[in-house]
């Protein structure tokens, strides 16, 4: 390790990276179980029928919230603790503050889960965190923004690296978005005007929180793993500023053909097609970066996870620019097509990136080689195939449901048509859960396994193997 690399390594609060990764994986376990349990309701085989505190409607909200705010947010925070000090050459603002944010965030998650199961959910999609917890979340988000942006500010008026553009904007957006989405429709704007704001919130949560933090991490990890720079800086600029301009304008597309004024709906459709074109440039940038190093996908599992996610991202974008059209919406809206899309984006893209980053960091954090590379390979294939099957299955189910509804078949017919798809979805979910169980076991055995004297180098070799 060079002097500079060692210096950068000293700036990183490794204990916090570990803590957030562990918390993220714990949330993943709960979230996957909740999702699988909920899916069994659809095949009339629910695990806890008639139990109020484990009612499917409530478990569904735990599934989405714990995965968004527990799995994705925790894992991304771990990534930020690793990446920001390395890029800026400065530590985050404060170690005690970092630990405070960590515990506050886990307390928020626990309170959210308990609150939802106890019947205190807020009626805002992706924001079901009980209303009395929201102020704590806002404070937590502001503290996180201050903690992470302090080193960026301190590094002076120099141009900042691509990753930091995404982190900076993402942290600012998330505070604003959380405030807007949780308070405006709840207290100020009812009905159609409230729905316009909710649409913005739902979409900004994906587009202005998860997406920018995810891309920011990739702009660091991909060049580091491949040991070469990103293909084009100019294309990076187009990708970031295009996302910043178009993405916030997308929101109302979650309520097309609704009583929201049509000009807002048309605007959202146009902006959505715009954002898909712009983010495709980011895809091109990463594929072009890979050019000449494609063989690394075979031997380097972290990179394979990341690029599988990138390919899923392109599929999502193409799908999205079609499904947002008002004509297509007539059929697919309200159906499982949208559910498939959501799983492809949130899990197939961002979840996969998180697996790649975790795989890259874990041996270094514990300075131990992987307990088993075979288990990691199994995890990859079970998860990748499970996700692919689930998304294709739900997309097909959506088309069947949409046409059955339009053709005025009795409602129950649309349910009966859906049973085989819902059965397949549960099986795919079990494959994903099985893969993750293998991964959890591997993580645990690795962390508790025997240390190796020349750990970092050995760990690196193991990852590359």
């Amino acid at each position: 390790m060079s002097e500079k690399a060692r210096y950068q390594d000293d700036l990183v609060l490794r204990s916090l990276v570990r803590a957030h990764l562990i918390a993220g994986m714990a949330a993943l376990a709960i979230g996957l179980l909740a999702g699988l349990a909920f899916s069994f309701q659809f095949i009339q085989r629910y695990w806890f029928p008639g139990v109020e505190l484990l009612s499917p409607g409530r478990v569904r909200m735990v599934h989405t919230n714990i995965l968004a705010y527990g799995f994705i947010a925790n894992s991304f925070l771990a990534g930020l603790y690793w990446v920001i000090p390395r890029i800026t050459g400065r530590p985050v603002l404060s170690r005690p503050l970092s630990w405070f944010i960590f515990w506050a965030w886990q307390a928020i998650l626990l309170a959210t889960g308990v609150g939802i199961l106890g019947g205190q959910a807020q009626g805002v999609e992706w924001g079901e965190t009980p209303i009395f917890i929201d102020p704590i979340v806002v404070v937590g988000l502001i503290l996180a923004a201050v903690n992470f942006l302090a080193p960026v500010v301190k590094s002076g008026g120099k141009p900042i690296y691509v990753s930091l553009w995404y982190f900076t904007a993402g942290l600012v957006w998330t505070v604003l978005n959380y405030l807007m989405g949780n308070y405006v429709p709840q207290f100020f704007l009812p009905g159609a005007s409230g729905a316009a704001v909710t649409g913005l919130f739902i979409h900004d949560l994906v587009g202005l929180f998860v997406t920018p933090l995810g891309w920011g991490l990739l702009y660091y990890f991909v060049p580091v793993i491949l040991r070469k720079p990103i293909w084009s800086h100019a294309v990076s600029l187009i990708g970031f500023w295009g996302l910043a301009f178009f993405y916030p304008l997308n929101g109302v597309h979650h309520y097309l053909w609704s009583p929201i004024p049509m000009f807002a709906q048309y605007g959202a459709v146009v902006a959505t097609v715009g954002v898909e074109i712009v983010v495709t440039t980011v895809f091109i940038n990463f594929i072009a970066t890979l050019r000449g190093s494609g063989a690394a996908l075979v031997v380097n599992l972290p990179l394979r996870w990341i690029y599988t996610g990138i390919v899923f991202y392109l599929i999502t974008c193409i799908q999205c620019s079609f499904q947002v059209l008002l004509t297509v919406q007539k059929i697919i809206h309200f159906s499982d097509w949208v559910v498939g899309h959501a799983h492809l984006v949130m899990f197939g893209v961002f979840g996969f990136w998180i697996f790649g980053i975790t795989l890259e960091l874990w041996p270094r954090l514990w300075e131990r080689p992987w307990y088993s590379t075979r288990l990691n390979t199994w995890h990859y294939w079970l998860t990748a195939l499970g996700t692919a099957v689930m998304v294709i299955d739900l997309t097909a189910a959506g088309l069947v449901q949409g046409f059955a509804w339009r053709d005025l078949a009795p409602w129950e017919a649309s349910l009966r048509f859906s049973y085989p798809f819902w059965m397949t979805r549960s099986i795919a979910g079990m494959a994903i859960l099985a893969g993750s169980v293998l991964f959890f076991y591997n993580l645990w055995r690795t962390a508790t396994g025997p240390a190796v004297a020349t750990a970092p180098a050995a760990a690196q070799a193991e990852v590359m193997a």
Binding site: M180, A192, P248, F263
Partner: protein, 222 residues
């Protein structure tokens, strides 16, 4: 140096200005368009008690009196509020939407196409449009089924709709005493009141236009 790579530009232009622009175009402007619609409180909505609410009071007199007293408009308002809260807490809105679109023959299946004015009230804070239909849309559900049907449906949906994938909600009922049929508790009465109220204000098309949305009785669950 490219100004687009500066921290300040990213915070001010991307972080604040673009977010603000979107909030103006996609939230403030729609609100401006709709702001003159009169905002109704629950008390105003409940001024006229619906026949279904009176029917509940007659069918389940003992629990009704215990939880809501006489079927006055004040009791109706209380039941609507409670019903809306139950609707949110149980996540009903994740599998049932609350707007009829002007496409895909939805007006034939559910009833009149939705319009902004009917959502300008306190019970739509937060709005309950929904984004998924596992079960049918509910904004025109008033009077589609009887109170008894809803009661059986909440107790065990498959008893009235064999292929239903809706959960059962036994906690909407007091524990049945001996041989007696289960009686709805405050949550059960409130959620039925809320669902039977949805769309009670809208003009329904003539009966033949509306589609039979239940399957024939002889069809069974595969």
């Amino acid at each position: 140096m490219n100004p687009l790579e500066r921290f300040s530009a990213i915070v001010l232009i991307a972080g604040l200005a673009f977010f603000g622009l979107a909030a103006v175009v996609e939230a403030w402007l729609p609100w401006q368009t709709l702001r003159d619609l009169p905002m109704q409180s629950v008390e105003e909505l409940a001024a006229e008690v619906t026949p279904d609410f009176l029917d509940l009071a007659q069918r389940y007199p003992e629990p009704f009196r215990r939880h809501f007293g006489e079927p006055t408009s004040a009791a109706f308002a209380r039941a609507l509020r409670r019903g809306r809260d139950v609707y949110i807490a149980e996540g009903c809105w994740h599998c049932h939407s609350q707007f009829v679109r002007p496409v895909s023959h939805e007006d034939r299946r559910f009833g009149a196409v939705s319009y902004p004015g009917e959502y300008q009230n306190e019970l739509q804070l937060p709005q309950l449009f929904g984004t998924r239909r596992v079960g049918p849309d509910l904004i025109r559900s008033a009077g589609k089924h009887s109170n008894d049907w809803h009661l059986a449906h909440f107790w065990q949906p498959t008893t009235v709709v064999p292929s239903s994938v809706m959960p059962s909600f036994p906690w909407f009922f007091d524990p049945p005493a001996g041989e007696a049929l289960p009686q709805p508790n405050d949550r059960g009465l409130a959620i039925i009141t809320f669902v039977q109220w949805l769309g009670s204000w809208a003009e329904q098309p003539d009966a033949p236009l509306l589609l039979q949305t239940s399957a024939p009785a002889q069809e069974t669950n595969p």
